[in-house]
């Protein structure tokens, strides 16, 4: 590895991020081709994947050494002190190189080898089949059909090959409309509600400028509204703030003029753009990374970051969609500017509110594959997979996950998966360990031959699904049970488990969730044990009666037959230990010495063990 000059530095200190008394751990830092590894004196390992590194900072030299601060995309922040400046400099330079790759081929996914053969890998990629998904929704049908217009990516490079459109939309209409839409992203089906016969469609903004029209585009929208046999009007939802949309008109883009389109109802929902979201998250992280943060600074920071306001805006837009379909039976067309950020958020979240399938583990994967991956959310740019334009990076997908988390908080029984599942997905959109999120659209992914050269994340998550199951999930609910979240502001809370994932001192010391999850597992095992025991008892009883019978027979006929004497061999089944291993009661193990942070009065340093072992399991999924 040409970037690695120093592979091992000893006597490195890892500072506790929130300790006001500057607690630290001493250990050895290793630099590998894929990870930065810190092993402390208690042999605890902290693994940091190079791709997770968002920024590396070398601070001014201090008496104890050279501070190196690493911020990760999964919100881990580590603060090392390297004794020699020279070593620090080497590591700093290496990490700068290693964390920003210039070529896709240098990303971890292309070297990651989970020891699977080609057919297993291929099967993994086939786990999710979007054609199946559209079939499940009930398309094609008499109103919607599969269009082959984009089969060769000729009409729109950032769309998938297979698109569903109203059957009345002929190819010339599609071609005409695509020319009138940003990046050729013409209106297509995103979700079809079988019960209401209404659809969620998506596209990019029209190139309307101040007055331009396009007959084909108008036809296509009419075709969409006509594809709904119940309600003839449809909503066109522009997810941008009105001001932004108006500004776009000057650049020859803009939004639909209600006068030109028959039977549409136009609506702005005011979600801010990727740049606003990026700086909002930055502010949020700045605030909650402060040592000794006061309650007032926390809330005023939360407010001024605007983060929860943005989350609420996305949620409100999704609710608008769900209501249009459920209450008014109306189809909805959603767009923003290019139709791959806010549009993906709103369409996917809207579908999730409407269809309980997307609230299952498999269904959620399908949803991400459909509305995010296949419709060209630019994962590589938004997550900064390669050394590219930092202005393209934005936490759009993270916001989507956060909205889902808020829903799981309000509806604890509606989701098959748990918070860990959301966190794990978030981990992997940045890890570049699997091929799913590499590239910015399907065409690019095909060119990268991801299905041949990398693995899909989904089968690995499914294999591990025990970890991601919500023990309170009630699966009995009907498919079309709509979630109607309460969006009064007080329902939106700071997602500590995401933004402080690795700051264990901030978390509850006992997790009700884990206990219930384990108990649920244990119950399944106990049920099995009961069955086993019952059948053994039955066997025993039968055998006893048999024995009595045979004994009588034997005594009369063959008094000395040894063969019947072989007793069945029972193996004593060991039960799961119930109360010892499942519930780990934590109090104040000397390791978690929160107590030294209550007052400056006792600022003598104590050997602290910051538990960072979480990361290992995560990265070697």
């Amino acid at each position: 590895m040409e970037h690695i000059r120093t592979t091992k530095v000893e006597q490195v200190k890892l500072l506790d991020r929130f300790s006001t008394s500057n607690k630290s751990l001493t250990g050895t830092l290793y630099l590998t081709a894929t990870h930065l590894l810190f092993i402390d004196s208690h042999q605890k390992e902290t693994w940091i994947l190079h791709h997770h590194i968002a920024s590396v900072e070398k601070l001014a030299l201090t008496t104890s050494g050279c501070p190196l601060v690493i911020q990760c995309k999964n919100f881990r922040i580590v603060h090392f002190i390297v004794p020699r400046e020279r070593d620090c400099h080497d590591i700093y330079n290496s990490l700068l190189q290693l964390s920003k790759q210039a070529k896709y081929e240098d990303l971890y996914a292309f070297s990651y080898n989970p020891k699977q053969n080609d057919s297993e890998r291929l099967q993994g990629w086939q786990l999710i089949d979007l054609a199946e998904e559209y079939k499940r929704m009930g398309v094609p049908n008499s109103h919607w059909e599969l269009s082959d217009a984009n089969r060769e990516y000729k009409i729109c490079e950032t769309y998938p090959r297979e698109l569903y459109v109203p059957w009345t939309a002929s190819k010339p209409i599609i071609v005409g409309s695509s020319k009138f839409r940003s990046k050729g992203r013409f209106p297509v089906l995103s979700y079809y509600h079988q019960d209401k016969k209404a659809a969620i469609c998506r596209c990019s903004q029209p190139l309307s400028g101040f007055s331009a029209r396009c007959v084909e585009d108008e036809h296509l929208l009419q075709a969409i509204s006509k594809a709904n046999p119940v309600n003839r009007y449809m909503y066109v939802v522009d997810t941008r703030p009105k001001l932004n949309a108006m500004a776009n008109r000057a650049a020859g883009k803009g939004y639909e003029n209600e006068d030109n389109y028959s039977s549409i109802r136009f609506q702005f929902v005011g979600i801010e753009n990727i740049h606003v979201m990026r700086s909002s998250l930055q502010k949020l992280l700045e605030v909650n990374g402060t040592k000794g943060l006061s309650v007032n600074d926390f809330y005023s920071g939360l407010e001024s970051s605007g983060w929860l306001r943005h989350i609420k805006a996305v949620m409100d837009a999704a609710i608008f969609l769900a209501k249009a379909i459920m209450v008014e039976n109306a189809s909805v067309l959603v767009h923003c500017s290019d139709g791959w950020d806010r549009t993906s958020q709103v369409c996917s979240l809207g579908s999730l509110l409407l269809d309980s399938y997307y609230r299952t583990i498999k269904g959620f994967m399908v949803l991400i594959d459909k509305d995010w991956i296949s419709f060209g959310h630019k994962f590589s740019e938004r997550c900064g997979h390669l050394d590219g334009d930092p202005k393209e990076v934005s936490p759009v997908f993270t916001q989507f996950l956060e909205c889902v988390w808020h829903l799981t908080e309000q509806f604890p029984q509606a989701f098959e998966f748990n918070e860990a599942f959301l966190l794990q997905i978030h981990e992997h959109i940045h890890s570049c360990q699997f091929g799913n999120f590499l590239g910015n659209c399907q065409k690019e992914r095909e060119e990268l031959k991801l299905k041949e050269k990398t693995y899909s994340l989904w089968p690995f998550l499914l294999e591990d699904q025990k970890k991601y199951l919500n023990p309170l999930y009630s699966s009995k609910s009907h498919r079309f049970i709509v979630l109607e979240p309460n969006t009064v502001s007080f329902n939106f809370k700071f997602w500590r488990n995401m933004y402080h994932q690795f700051d264990r001192t901030l978390h509850p010391r006992q997790s009700v969730f884990n206990i219930i999850m384990n108990m649920n597992e244990q119950n399944k095992q106990l049920e099995k044990d009961i069955k086993d025991l019952e059948s053994k008892i039955k066997q025993r009883k039968n055998k006893q009666t048999d024995d009595i019978l045979t004994k009588e027979l034997l005594h009369s006929v063959h008094p000395e037959s040894p063969t019947l004497k072989t007793s069945l061999c029972f193996k004593e089944q060991t039960l799961l230990p119930v109360n010892d291993s499942l519930r780990t009661i934590e109090g104040s193990s000397p390791a978690d010495n929160r107590y030294s942070d209550y007052a400056e009065e006792f600022s003598k340093s104590e050997p602290a063990v910051v538990s960072l072992e979480y990361g290992v399991a995560r990265m070697t999924c």
């Binding site: 509806f411 309460n486 509850p508 108990m519 119950n523 055998k543 107590y595």
Partner: protein
């Protein structure tokens, strides 16, 4: 005085009741001496029974002859009554106003309440100081019970029985009492079995501007120190406030006179600052139209969570002195009846596993709040909707319950009780059919003859059928000290109290039930497995016997 005089209109028909989460109900409104009752006289609708003492404030307005009374309760609920007829409405409103602000304690409902349940254990005798002391005395010969305050003469706000160092006689206690605010001489609050360290509490020393000292006081608190050990004095006021107190005759322990003690000043707010904080918080929570920025800034401006953080931090500090530094602690503020008790009782929650059980928590409230002389009657006279601001009203106890809830959230398996238990205590502290929270001190309770004339809350709560509602199904005794995180990210708003009437908790309740089901099912399965295994073992031995010749 007869209640009938206050009830101008005892009954009105065709009244429409609006309340959170229920459809509007039309029915007959009745006023009794202690209750407001609305009954639709239909089988399937629940009746409303509201204690007048639970009413914090009322508003009335008229549209034509239809009057509307908005009743704001001390538990933060808001209900609305539409009453046809202006006169009826005015009568009802003024009756409610009069009945909900009775100034004589003996007219309160607890004096009229006749329990409909059989008292198995009289709660008035459940937590006697002598019994509590026995729990300590076995481990230590350094403490004794003193009856110096038997007639409430030495300290009106202390109970008749207190625990003091063995080496200090009653005569010295009398002298110390003259040197401490309200006569509240230092007494034992908590004894840490693990290392024999203690928490004591008192009122501020009356040093005044000329630095008065009291040898007996110094001797008393020094008597609690081991040889060569230092102790900590935690003053719950900022240094500035403590210095100002000297001008009014109060003050703090001077280093020169207490060389073995290190003083730490913390800043816990009191009185109207807390009451205003509560008013602002409830106002913010009740307004559903706030946009995100406004909600967050209102939440911040209420300062409620700042108070929570400050109280918890101070309690953690006290617990840290005891458990980590191996040093005894004396805690006081000004009177020693508010922030002092918040800190001593929370420190015990952190340090003492017993105080995290139902029984132990009840004992803690009895010992550290009721007998320690927290003036419940004054502090809980009004809640978040009061207009007449009195200096003595403050949600000190609610803040304590909120802090307990915060720790409970961080250690959800370490408490025998659940959130509902805390909510229940909050409700009864403000309005109750039981006598437990009446009065401001033991001496007042004695004079009121509460033990004879009213029922204790504990008599009711400790019935098995009631207890089951308050039991945490996840509880597993945890003998460790539990250190909560006090970072703002770890201290959320207590939704169960503050958003209780502002949003439906249907899905959360259902999920809780499901959780309970899983736990119950687990117990059932385990019991069944055990029976089956025994059965199988028996069959096997039988077989063995048959098979052996």
């Amino acid at each position: 005085m007869e209640f009938a005089e206050l009830i101008k209109t005892p009954r009105v028909d065709n009244v429409v009741l609006h309340r959170p989460f229920y459809p509007a109900v039309e029915g007959t409104l009745c006023l009794t001496g202690h209750h407001l009752i609305l009954s639709s006289r239909q089988d399937n609708t629940e009746e409303l029974w509201l204690l007048h003492s639970n009413i914090d404030a009322i508003d009335k307005r008229f549209v034509g002859s239809l009057g509307t009374i908005i009743i704001k309760c001390k538990d933060f609920r808001i209900i609305q009554l539409d009453i046809p007829g202006m006169e009826e409405c005015l009568n009802i409103a003024s009756s409610i106003e009069a009945l909900s602000t009775l100034d004589s304690i003996t007219l309160m409902y607890p004096f009229f309440y006749r329990p409909m349940f059989e008292v198995i254990e009289d709660g008035w005798h459940s937590f006697l100081p002598e019994q509590e002391f026995e729990l300590y005395s076995s481990a230590s010969g350094e403490w004794r019970l003193s009856y110096v305050n038997k007639e409430f003469a030495v300290c009106p706000s202390y109970p008749p029985t207190v625990i003091v160092p063995k080496s200090i006689d009653d005569e010295a206690l009398r002298k110390v009492a003259t040197f401490r605010h309200g006569g509240r001489f230092p007494v034992l609050s908590y004894y840490h079995q693990k290392n024999g360290m203690v928490i004591m509490r008192s009122g501020q020393p009356l040093t005044g501007t000329n630095g008065r000292r009291c040898k007996e006081d110094e001797k008393l608190i020094n008597a609690t120190l081991r040889v060569g050990k230092r102790g900590y004095i935690i003053d719950t006021r900022s240094l500035n406030v403590a210095q100002q107190a000297r001008a009014k005759g109060g003050g703090f322990e001077q280093e020169a006179h207490y060389p073995q003690w290190r003083r730490i000043h913390k800043s816990i707010e009191r009185y109207h600052i807390l009451q205003e904080s509560l008013i602002k918080l409830v106002e913010a929570c009740n307004d559903q139209t706030h946009n995100m920025d406004r909600w967050l800034s209102k939440l911040e401006a209420s300062n409620w969570l700042t108070h929570i953080k400050e109280i918890l931090t101070t309690a953690c500090l006290a617990a840290q002195c005891i458990d980590r530094e191996g040093a005894s602690v004396l805690i006081h503020g000004t009177e020693g009846t508010d922030s002092t008790l918040q800190v001593t009782s929370l420190a015990q929650i952190i340090l003492e596993p017993r105080s995290r059980t139902i029984r132990g928590f009840e004992a803690l409230i009895e010992r550290e709040w009721l007998q320690a002389g927290h003036p419940f009657q004054q502090r809980c006279a009004q809640s978040a909707y009061c207009n007449t601001k009195q200096k003595w009203e403050a949600p000190v106890f609610l803040l304590f319950l909120d802090c307990v809830w915060q720790i409970l959230r961080q250690f959800p398996c370490s408490f025998e009780f659940n959130e509902n238990f805390l909510i229940m205590l909050f409700e009864h502290a403000y309005a109750s059919q039981f006598g437990t929270f009446l009065g401001n001190s033991e001496s007042e309770r004695c004079k009121l003859k509460l033990q004879q004339k009213t029922m204790s809350l504990w008599s009711w709560v400790n019935q098995p059928s009631e207890l089951s509602k308050y039991t945490n199904p996840l509880f597993e005794a945890n003998n460790l000290v539990i250190w909560p995180s006090v970072a703002p990210q770890s201290l959320p708003l207590w939704e169960g109290i503050f958003l209780r009437w502002n949003r439906s908790s249907k899905y959360l309740d259902e999920a809780y039930e499901e959780m309970v089901n899983i736990i119950e099912y687990n117990k059932e399965l385990q019991a069944k497995v055990n029976i089956l295994r025994r059965q199988l073992a028996e069959l096997e031995t039988e077989d063995g016997m048959q098979e052996s010749p």
